[in-house]
């Protein structure tokens, strides 16, 4: 493959299209041709900058989508029926969870609905397709932001001592409920925390099937682990591609700090 041929195939290469043989040949050429390697790199930078400028700042307009959804949603009785169904499902779950050893690994699942919705937001925030509303590494500032932007009480997010490096926070909708989120990293992996009002429980009938003694529940959604917990006046979800134990540590840290904001985060003191 010569330079012209390699460059002609740039689109296919960039878009991960075409067959493996082509990618092999292009890669081989790039290894031996620094000029093309540089040229390919430049194309990628330019193409991504163009795409970014077309897409950036585009978030779904809540008002538009709520009007669109309202036209689709039938009146509520369907939910009640589903609830009844869940009555028996709850019993099955309860029996099942009594049989299974009490471990967060195999416990019953949170509502697939809530799991899927939170993973979708998590993906959007961590893929860079969307920035958090409020970018900050200070848990104190994030907490203040959240408290000003949601109507329900929000407790202290986890801090560095729980292995959590905050990147920002914001608000989003999960189904018809508003939620606060905090995004950050644990062991170099992106993790999101979603905080809802505990009242939201009643909007996800599935969740009401949680046996009361079992506060934390675990589910996998694709490559993500999701832990869910009721805490004080909140429903808290931790989402990420990290071990469930690490997520559990975040949930344990949530709201556990004494409310003394005179001590800033470790990072802030260090800098």
């Amino acid at each position: 493959m010569n330079c012209t041929q390699a460059r002609q195939h740039w689109h296919l290469f960039h878009d991960s299209e075409g067959d493996a043989e082509l990618h092999l040949q292009v890669n081989e050429h790039l290894e031996h041709c620094p000029e093309c390697a540089r040229w390919f790199q430049q194309q990628i930078v330019l193409e991504e900058a163009i795409t970014h400028s077309l897409v950036s700042g585009m978030e779904p307009t809540a008002a538009i989508w709520s009007r669109i959804e309202q036209q689709l949603v039938p009146p509520q009785p369907a939910r009640i029926k589903k609830w009844l169904l869940f009555g028996s499902a709850a019993l099955t779950l309860l029996v099942a969870s009594l049989l299974i050893a009490v471990s967060i690994e195999n416990s019953s699942s949170p509502a697939p609905e809530l799991a899927a919705l939170s993973v979708a937001v998590h993906d959007k925030l961590t893929s860079g397709r969307e920035e958090p509303n409020f970018v900050s590494s200070s848990h104190v500032d994030i907490e203040d932001y959240l408290k000003q932007h949601v109507s329900f009480p929000v407790r202290c997010p986890p801090r560095e001592d729980a292995g959590f490096e905050a990147r920002g926070g914001g608000t989003c909708r999960l189904a018809n409920d508003s939620a606060a989120y905090v995004v950050g990293q644990v062991d170099g992996e992106s993790v999101s925390l979603f905080i809802l009002s505990r009242d939201s429980l009643s909007h996800f009938p599935e969740l009401q099937a949680i046996p009361q003694r079992q506060r934390t529940r675990h589910q996998r959604h694709g490559a993500h682990d999701i832990l869910l917990m009721e805490f004080d006046q909140n429903l808290v979800l931790a989402v990420g591609k990290v071990r469930a134990e690490r997520l559990q540590r975040l949930l344990d840290a949530y709201g556990s700090y004494p409310h003394d904001h005179s001590v800033k985060s470790v990072r802030q003191r260090a800098s």
């Binding site: 689109h11 307009t61 589903k82 189904a175």
Partner: protein, 200 residues
């Protein structure tokens, strides 16, 4: 009644994660910005009506973007008819990238893309609207929807080869728009409505 409720819940479960991308696709495609909500509303309503035909486990993303694509075409055709504007035929673009010569642009971009794009974002948004409908759809489905060529071919209803040539042409024209100074060309459709994307 129960079936209706289930259908609705299942539909929304699929739809909600895609709302941002669907809206962005429409915003960047529809000539008359004031019609974005109508186009979305119509596309979603039609898709919901046909949702019984959608096979669970198949590609909902591609499926619903096709409705959005058709809605955009329809809306833009109406716009052009009202304005008595024919669809412009773009001049053929040579296959070679002609960016190699503009090293200063590339240098600026490599240094700090965001600085350049603060000044060029409007030009790029305008340039997208000047693309041929199929070229624009292919470019945006790739950029916003992150679809594979095969999926784009299905959504737009064109052969795979057309997707590739359209994408190549559209990318080339976006680059040309970057190197051009503003205001050189008039007469092509620009977004109207709330005016947020209308050049002075």
């Amino acid at each position: 009644m129960k079936d209706d409720g289930d259908k609705c819940e299942r539909f929304l479960l699929h739809l909600r994660p895609l709302q941002g991308a669907l809206e962005a696709f429409c915003r960047r495609s529809v000539y008359d910005v004031s019609l974005v909500e109508d186009v979305l509303q119509e596309a979603v309503t039609r898709a919901f009506r046909d949702f019984g035909l959608f096979a669970e486990g198949t590609n909902f993303r591609a499926w619903i973007f096709r409705y959005a694509h058709l809605g955009i075409l329809e809306s833009n055709r109406g716009f052009l008819t009202r304005r008595h504007q024919p669809l412009e035929v773009e001049p053929a673009v040579e296959d070679e990238w002609n960016l190699g010569g503009d090293d200063s642009l590339l240098h600026t971009l490599l240094e700090s893309p965001e600085i350049l794009f603060e000044h060029c974002a409007d030009d790029l948004i305008h340039a997208v609207l000047q693309l041929q409908p199929v070229d624009r759809a292919v470019l945006l489905l790739k950029g916003i929807g992150e679809f594979k060529y095969r999926e784009i071919a299905e959504i737009v209803g064109v052969p795979l080869g057309t997707v590739m040539s359209s994408l190549s042409r559209a990318r080339q024209q976006m680059r040309q728009a970057l190197t051009k100074t503003r205001g050189g060309q008039g007469g092509l459709p620009r977004q109207t409505g709330d005016g947020s994307h209308t050049n002075p």
